[in-house]
């Protein structure tokens, strides 16, 4: 196996391990260590790290877990991620998590945070609301205080004080992580045949389940490996994925899109590790720095308000241009209010910018890939034909 294939094989086994063995081993290695789970999307990982905890990314159960109990908690018209997350909880798989952070994405996750409080009272559970006002003096000031509250919660959980220097140190590590992640994305946009989307996806997902220091080394090794390796180049079209920032598609779906003739050159899969697009300042007040970075340099998703009508969709159009993409696949989880309410607006703007797009819905446990493959294949053909 090539070096990159080795790395990806390791990532796949971490990603597939729904007992979170890596987190368990990390916790067992030193007495007193704590693991803090988090759901998508705008999570200040630095704070968890600064508390000496392992941030553990929870993205539901995917297509490898049978949901036995979770369905009894949710009506059929609610997306999959909360029910499979509940399944992870009630089946004991998530008992490794001493704390859980539920950041704002939508009302489903918001309410799930309350369910967690009731069902798992021994777990420190925090709903973390991000500002929808982006003025530093208003939303920024609010956010700084929310971070302070988060810090206090983590201090109570761990019994240790988190200093500003602890946070600055974590910011430094995550800045490095984001730089490396951006490099992988930039490399893929340039030579997508060398960095298949499914590989990059696994690399990122596994990264959200391991210590950041380890992920940084892994990313550097992966970059070095793929630069040196060669793979056959196909006549694929270049597309960007939007709408997949929360519940994740099965890995096979990502593979199917590529097999249908589309290179994914940018995406919003599991955005947590790259929602900040620039370095966070390591000088000054670290909470202010995190707050300002969120206000000024966080990616746009349907979970954020866009204050200016003229700006609506611009983020998406610019992402398409920056990645040199020829089209967009707007792929959303079924019943996903945020992505689906946004869809007409975003796709309307793509149309105005003459960017071709298709849209479809998926579930984390979708099994039938044939329709997706056909749709993506037809889309790729039509781009080739008309470009």
């Amino acid at each position: 196996m090539s070096i990159s294939a080795d790395i990806i094989a390791r990532c796949q086994s971490i990603y597939e391990d729904l007992d979170f063995g890596l987190a368990r081993a990390w916790k067992a290695a030193v007495p007193g260590r704590k693991v803090v789970g988090f759901l998508p999307l705008y999570v200040p990982l630095e704070m968890i790290h600064a508390a000496g905890c392992l941030p553990l990314g929870i993205f539901g159960g995917g297509d490898r877990m049978e949901v036995i109990h979770g369905d009894a908690y949710y009506q059929s018209y609610i997306c999959r991620i909360p029910r499979s997350t509940i399944e992870l909880g009630v089946s004991g798989r998530l008992d490794v998590a001493d704390g859980m952070i539920f950041p704002f994405v939508c009302d489903v996750i918001r309410n799930l945070s309350g369910m967690w409080k009731i069902m798992f009272p021994q777990v420190w559970t925090k709903f973390f609301d991000t500002p929808q006002n982006f003025d530093p003096a208003i939303g920024g000031a609010y956010y700084v205080e929310e971070l302070r509250e988060l810090k206090q919660g983590l201090e109570q959980l761990t019994g240790r004080t988190i200093t500003d220097d602890d946070i600055r140190h974590s910011i430094g590590l995550y800045n490095e992580n984001r730089r490396l992640v951006r490099s992988v994305y930039a490399f893929r946009a340039q030579a997508p045949w060398k960095a298949p989307a499914s590989d990059v996806y696994l690399l990122m997902r596994a990264g959200l389940m391991m210590p950041v220091e380890e992920h940084n080394r892994m990313l550097a090794d992966y970059l070095a490996a793929i630069e040196a390796e060669d793979r056959p180049r196909r006549d694929n079209v270049r597309i960007v994925i939007f709408g997949s920032f929360c519940e994740q598609p099965p890995l096979n779906l990502i593979k199917s899109i590529e097999m249908a003739g589309c290179y994914i050159v940018d995406d919003d899969y599991a955005l947590v590790n790259r929602f900040l697009t620039e370095d966070v300042a390591v000088e000054g007040d670290p909470l202010e720095a995190l707050s300002l970075s969120y206000l000024r340099h966080s990616v746009e998703t349907s979970c954020k308000y866009v204050p200016d009508e003229a700006e609506k969709g611009r983020f998406h159009i610019e992402a398409v241009k920056a990645a040199g993409a020829e089209g967009v696949i707007y792929a959303t989880p079924s019943f996903c209010d945020p992505a689906l309410l946004d869809r007409p607006m975003i796709c309307g703007r793509l149309s105005e910018a003459s960017i071709p797009f298709i849209s479809f819905k998926y579930a984390e446990n979708s099994g039938q890939m044939q329709p997706i493959r056909e749709q993506a294949g037809t889309f790729a053909d039509s781009i080739k034909l008309w470009s």
Binding site: P131, Q132, E149, S302, P338
Partner: protein, 427 residues
Amino acid sequence: MSEAVKEPSMLMQKEMIARNYEAITSKHETGRKVSSTFVPGNLNELLMCFDIVNNLPEINAIQGGMRKASGGFIMEAEKSGHSEDVCTYVKADIGQMAKGNIAPNGKPFPAPDVLLLSYTGCYTFMKWFELLRAEYKCPTLMLHVPYEGDGHATKNMRDYIVKQLKEVVIPGLEQVSGVKFDIDRLRGYLRASARAEDNLVWCLEQGKNKPSPIDAYFGGVYYIGPIFTAFRGTEDAVTYYETLRREVQERIDARQGPLTPEGTNFNDQKYRLVVEGPPNWTHFREFWKMFYDEGAVVVASSYTKVGGMYDQGFRHDPDNPLESLADYCLGCYTNRNLPTRVDILAKYIEEYEADGLLINSIKSCNSFSAGQLMLMKEVERRTGKPSAFIETDLVDPRYFSAANVKNRLESYFQMIEQKRQGARSAA
């Protein structure tokens, strides 16, 4: 179906609503400005300070549902690319716009001058107004109300809201209306709000009587009408709640139940229920009938708290005007976390001596619905009273299955009977 029989308070409300629609649709003649805004976190007193007329798209969607027009609007919106999965209030609104946007008074709705996005307790609000903004291209003022994730409001949340009011909402409304903000005018309106709120709470609490003189769900949607919409802070609302209180008092004195749409007093109350979730609007009377036909009265509900939880002690406070608007927004029912909702519902069951909890789960509404199954189990565990779960939608007639709902209700009432018999034989 025959025209529903109405009490004086209902007629009064009908007339108030008609006047408000007239004020909205005549804006070009009168020169008044119109805002669109939502029910939870509704800042009616503030809008009044700028002489702005308040139009509420949720209420228009409800009206569309009751007039049986919403089904067509929703299909229209779905045809133009809106997902079948999202809230049908939004689609009813957008579909109605596509079909000429005619107000209940038969005149066209004018474009709003401002969208006041009071973002309280529901994610959908944010995208709903982004969608409307794209259509109307008018100023949009966002008031972000943080969710009470830990079950209480914090100083930081309150400060954040007050700052937005001072620096975003008030200057924005001044600009739209050309009227200077006068905090004493706001205090005056808030004083009137509190008087109306006192009487509303009194009326809602009369559900504790046996027989209950009110129906806190089907009747409740009328009782909350003025205070949840364009009238909180007006003298009209004060008078309305005085009238309502008199009506309720008369029924208590006569040991009578609430009036049904058929014009009879519903006195033979066999089951007392607490209901969680909004009602279905497309089959409202049919739905209500399923309850009183079986002898079930609703003694308390959560839906009557979406526009403010006055029964938990909150009142608008003229001495702290902006802070009290912030507290009001924070405390709306769906802005409270799930454990708090469980506490409230369990408390209602005890205080109103109810037989159990019925959940009407709404397909449209993740804000209410996500987590309701656990909420049901938890309330059941805490109170020892049986619960039941039905599923409908707000304004999409495709999701109202009368036979299913009726079946579920009948088995629920049987369950309550069995429970009672069990308790009797154990005694």
